[in-house]
């Protein structure tokens, strides 16, 4: 198909009508995914939508090379994650103050804690994961733990995704003291 994106000096990009419609279709289809990926880092809906918008504007500028559905979603996830992490790091001090870590009660698989407290502890534990593990577990949760879908979005082998999921879960279980009969292994 012919190149129908015109580039102007600076940041001007113009597209023909077909490409515009195609972009809008991709946007409609992937809006949930982009916002959730950003939310998985920022945990503020407004911030997540702002980041997702930025990612879409960048996608718009590069859309001629992203017309394939798989390529578009994969690019979108990675770009959104990168923008969200950058924002998160910039606001980290503020986020750390907002997410107070209360002294965690001894947790057993049967213990019941308030939903908000549990969620706060969970997110703090996720934030402490190495970035690759964090990205994998967040994306897996968004995609319903479909390893094939996650590997396509991240451009990784399925075995790598499984391995990262395992490591992320183990660390979370240790951090949240959810390991049954934990003998002190860290």
């Amino acid at each position: 198909m012919h190149e129908s994106v015109t580039r102007h000096p600076g940041t001007l990009v113009t597209m023909d009508a077909d490409l515009e419609r195609e972009f809008e279709a991709r946007l409609q289809e992937s809006a949930d995914l982009a916002v959730r990926v950003a939310y998985g880092v920022l945990r503020q809906q407004q911030d997540a939508e702002e980041i997702a918008q930025e990612a879409y504007v960048k996608a718009y500028r590069s859309f001629s090379s992203l017309r394939d559905r798989g390529a578009f979603r994969s690019w979108l996830v990675r770009m959104t994650w990168r923008l969200a992490i950058d924002r998160w790091r910039a606001d980290r001090s503020r986020v750390a103050r907002e997410q107070t870590w209360a002294a965690a009660p001894e947790m057993t698989p049967e213990s019941v804690a308030s939903a908000n407290q549990r969620a706060a502890r969970l997110w703090t534990a996720i934030d402490e994961l190495p970035e690759k593990l964090r990205q994998t577990i967040v994306l897996s949760a968004i995609q319903g733990y479909d390893v094939r879908e996650v590997s396509a979005l991240l451009g990784l082998a399925e075995g790598t995704v499984k391995s990262r999921l395992f490591l992320a879960r183990r660390r979370l279980a240790q951090r949240l003291k959810c390991l049954v009969n934990d003998t002190g292994r860290q």
Partner: protein, 237 residues
């Protein structure tokens, strides 16, 4: 006990790791380890559900419209961009104009030549009345020929608007030369009358325009005697 031996592997298996064949065989046969596995799996499932639930958010109702509005902004020039483009274009135009002006006002490299050297200015034969004799057609043709050969010898720089003559002339003289050349090219008969003719314009059409920087020839046939000269080119016009 074999349960201790396989405990870590079973917990890891609950976290998603693969299980070796012997560990799998033990798990199938050991009720205690099966309970261990189930409890661990239950805890991790709770984490998975918690995470999934926290991430099940929907974009706001106007999210798509806002994105489209921003992409439209990205494809429309802002006033600042327009001003920047206009300023850049103006700079380019001014630069080109300055280059052209510099070229047009540059002194020709061939410099000035005297009237005696250049056949482009035929010899002056002043009449007793002090007026210039009209150049003969042959002289004008000779001048045209010289001019063409001069142009051929000179390396072309740019296409001049006026013929290249090897003399320093005033603007009025330059215009007069241009009119002469036009007459020559048109093949129209040149006036023989030394009296200045007009071309219908406001300015008289000179017949001969000698360079001002050259001393005119002194002619004795007319009986004017040595030293007599028409020292100012303007008198011949």
């Amino acid at each position: 006990m074999s349960c201790e031996r396989y405990r870590t592997a079973i917990i890891d298996h609950a976290c998603g790791a693969d299980l070796s064949a012997d560990a799998a065989a033990h798990l199938q046969s050991c009720a205690a380890c099966t309970v261990l596995f189930d409890e661990q799996r239950h805890a991790l499932d709770a984490i998975d559900r918690e995470l999934q639930q926290a991430l099940t958010i929907a974009p706001s109702a106007r999210f798509v419209q806002r994105v489209l509005a921003r992409t439209r902004e990205a494809s429309s020039p802002t006033p600042r961009m327009l001003w920047a483009l206009a300023a850049a274009a103006a700079v380019v135009v001014i630069g080109l104009a300055a280059m052209r002006w510099t070229h047009d006002t540059a002194i020709p490299p061939t410099g000035q030549v005297t009237q005696a050297e250049s056949p482009a200015a035929p010899a002056i034969d002043p009449t007793p009345a002090g007026k210039a004799a009209a150049p003969h057609d042959a002289d004008i043709a000779k001048a045209a020929t010289h001019e063409r050969s001069t142009q051929a010898a000179t390396p072309p720089r740019t296409k001049p608007s006026l013929p290249e003559v090897e003399a320093i002339v005033s603007p009025e003289q330059a215009r007069a030369i241009e009119r002469y050349m036009a007459l020559i090219r048109s093949g129209a008969p040149l006036p023989a009358n030394p009296a200045p003719a007009t071309d219908g314009g406001s300015e008289p059409l000179p017949l001969l325009v000698p360079p001002l920087s050259v001393e005119p020839l002194t002619v004795s046939e007319a009986g004017t005697g040595p030293g007599t000269s028409t020292s100012r080119g303007e008198d011949l016009l």
